[in-house]
């Protein structure tokens, strides 16, 4: 099953490489392999498409992994990176940095640093607010919703005060893979690798945490410490992904369900599976977004580029409805 997912990742990557509008699909392969194509085509493929696909794959993997880690550690199938304060914190960090003129699309490093700092600050705020209830997953989830709402409000205030950058920032609020460069890739992959490896190594403790506090502690797990470490991994992964592609809706919430359904409750398999499924989801959604933008343009919509976040949100809302229904019927 992991093999199937890997094949799906490759398929999504190829589709992503072919999906753009400016270069005909037949010219992509020669451009990649150094065949006879004009320099503009080569530039588009190498400098725009390849990093875009790579960033989409890694960001998706981060979100899928972070979502599964969160859901296992908090024992809440409807927890996602959005409700831990990380995503809204990272958005606020990036938006504030952009508004203050410290960062912009010309300087991706500054945006990434601001987003990671914001994400960590958001998680830290949740940590402080949760106080004594830190070991109670339900209370943490409730505080997470609260923190997310406050940070979202602050982001809106920043946008209102400094509307100059609004256009580029709004795309990023929805989540986009447009104009991702090798600079983004170079910043993203080491971060993702470290936190991703750490998250996969916690598969054992996470399985016990899924069994509940009492069972986990009786079996010898120092549950508070294990949960803290797992949450730190989730924060790191989410912050990295949000810094790279913005606040992609629903990926971190729904991909874990797909991974658990395909691979079963053994997290030694399901964690890598969630990473692969997340990569497929984001890269595939990006391809769909590009193809539908092209279709819209060919129908006379003028210049239009649908951000990938719009696709993940639209698809995600439907899937979430299905997941929520199933859970409510079980209860």
């Amino acid at each position: 099953m992991l093999g199937c997912l890997t094949a799906a990742v490759l398929l999504a990557a190829v589709t992503g490489l072919l999906a753009g509008g400016a270069v005909a699909p037949g010219e992509v392969w020669p451009a990649l392999t150094g065949g006879a194509v004009d320099p503009t085509t080569r530039h588009i493929v190498w400098q725009l498409r390849v990093p875009r696909v790579l960033v989409a794959l890694v960001a998706g993997a981060c979100l899928g992994l972070a979502g599964l880690v969160l859901q296992a550690a908090l024992r809440n199938p409807l927890a996602g990176p959005e409700v831990t304060g990380v995503t809204p914190g990272a958005v606020l960090g990036a938006v504030a940095a952009t508004a203050a003129g410290l960062a912009g699309w010309a300087s991706p490093t500054a945006v990434v640093v601001a987003a990671v700092a914001g994400g960590c600050a958001g998680a830290g705020l949740l940590w402080l607010l949760a106080g004594r209830d830190r070991s109670d997953p339900a209370a943490v989830a409730v505080h997470g919703v609260l923190v997310s709402a406050v940070l979202g409000g602050l982001t809106a205030m920043v946008l209102l005060v400094a509307p100059g950058e609004l256009g580029s920032v709004v795309q990023w609020l929805v989540g986009t893979t447009e104009a991702r460069t090798w600079e983004h890739w170079a910043l993203l992959w080491p971060w993702a690798l470290v936190w991703g490896a750490a998250a996969c190594l916690t598969a054992g403790p996470l399985m016990l945490l899924r069994c509940g506090e009492d069972v986990a502690r009786a079996a010898g797990l120092a549950s508070s410490r294990a949960r803290g470490f797992a949450l730190a991994c989730a924060v790191g992964l989410t912050a990295g992904a949000v810094a790279a592609v913005g606040a992609l809706g629903f990926v971190g919430l729904l991909v874990p369900h797909v991974a658990l359904a395909l691979l079963g409750a053994d997290l030694r398999l399901a964690l890598p599976g969630a990473a692969l499924a997340g990569a497929v989801a984001v890269c595939g959604a990006d391809a769909v977004a590009q193809l539908s933008s092209r279709a819209a343009v060919s129908w006379g919509a003028g210049h239009l580029s649908i951000p990938v976040g719009a696709v993940t949100t639209a698809v995600g809302a439907v899937v979430l409805l299905a997941v929520a229904r199933r859970h409510t019927t079980e209860l």
């Binding site: 190594l201 598969a203 054992g204 069994c211 509940g212 009492d214 079996a219 294990a226 409750a265 030694r268």
Partner: protein
């Protein structure tokens, strides 16, 4: 025959730090004047208990008398605020979680459902204490958890989902999870909750059999005094956080115990074939204040009970 706080521990004149000189192995479990409470509520007070290796003990008492708390303390999941608990000589509250879990396995009264988890995967979680976080990444089908599944008879459903099982089946799976810890001391918190009569007997017979086969020491909380009297070799009754009775069921299960520990007037007979004590509870009565293990004063309004309920008890 039943004195309050009667224990088999050494005389208080000996040094309290040593596990008792000349006794060979330390007791499997030594609870020494343990106290525990939450702000505003004292749960356990001066509880002492000494358990030899291989004993099968039932812990009984009213709801909220501290039975489950005593189990949690013994498993090292809570820290006593007075006294000390030693398992095979080691102070459990000072041990790291994993080290404690290698010595004591605790089966909780209830456990939340884990969607999608199979029997094999759940039972394997018991290996955490031995293997550690990274060791859990290695092969998923080790000999110890396979034996635990075979011992409780769930090996055939290893790949079924736990949430699809019936209550009795699930209880056996959870027992297998505790056995997979391979700890010499097994604590069971009401292992028969939610089970019907047949499955109650099945689970307890299983516990008795495994205790012998695996040479474990078992301390279990039971709500059903009849089952406790039948299956345990020794019965410990708690009342308001203190040990109210401690001894073999044949000696301890008396009308006095029913009245003083459970606040119930009733009679106690013997099973005509097997001879174990059988309780015939009759009416709830007012519980005497805690430090009164003797029969209560006549002020216990006998007029409320016009029939002969109190006759046998007096």
């Amino acid at each position: 025959m039943t004195e309050p706080a009667t224990t088999a521990s050494k005389a208080p004149g000996l040094a309290p730090d040593e596990p008792g000189p000349g006794a060979g192995d330390p007791p499997a479990l030594a609870v020494d004047r343990v106290g525990f409470g939450y702000p505003g509520r004292r749960v356990l007070d001066e509880v002492s208990l000494s358990v030899r290796a291989g004993e099968l003990i039932a812990l009984v008492g009213l709801n909220g008398c501290g039975k489950s708390t005593l189990l949690r303390l013994t498993a090292g999941m809570l820290r006593p605020d007075a006294g000390r608990i030693r398992v095979a000589g080691a102070d459990v509250s000072g041990l790291p979680r994993r080290a404690a879990a290698r010595r004591v396995a605790l089966l909780h009264q209830t456990a939340p459902a884990v969607p999608g988890m199979t029997v094999r995967q759940l039972v394997r979680q018991g290996r955490y204490a031995t293997r550690g976080p990274l060791g859990m990444l290695r092969d998923g089908d080790d000999a110890v958890s396979r034996r635990a599944m075979a011992d409780v008879g769930v090996a055939d459903w290893a790949d079924r989902h736990v949430d699809e099982l019936s209550g009795g089946e699930r209880q056996r799976v959870r027992l297998a999870l505790a056995l997979a810890q391979d700890a010499p001391l097994l604590l069971l918190d009401e292992p028969t909750t939610y089970l019907d009569l047949r499955h109650q007997l099945e689970v307890l017979q299983l516990v008795v059999r495994l205790r012998t086969e695996r040479r474990m020491t078992v301390l279990m909380v039971l709500h059903d005094l009849g089952l406790a009297a039948r299956f345990a070799e020794r019965l410990v009754a708690l009342r308001d956080g203190r040990v109210a009775a401690d001894g073999p069921p044949a000696d301890v299960v008396t009308p006095d115990l029913l009245r003083d520990v459970f606040g119930v007037d009733g009679r106690v007979g013997r099973d005509p074939v097997r001879g174990w004590p059988v309780c015939y509870p009759d009416t709830p009565t007012a519980l005497a204040p805690t430090p009164a293990p003797r029969p209560p004063a006549p002020a216990g309004r006998p007029a409320d009970v016009p029939n002969s309920a109190g006759g046998e008890a007096r």
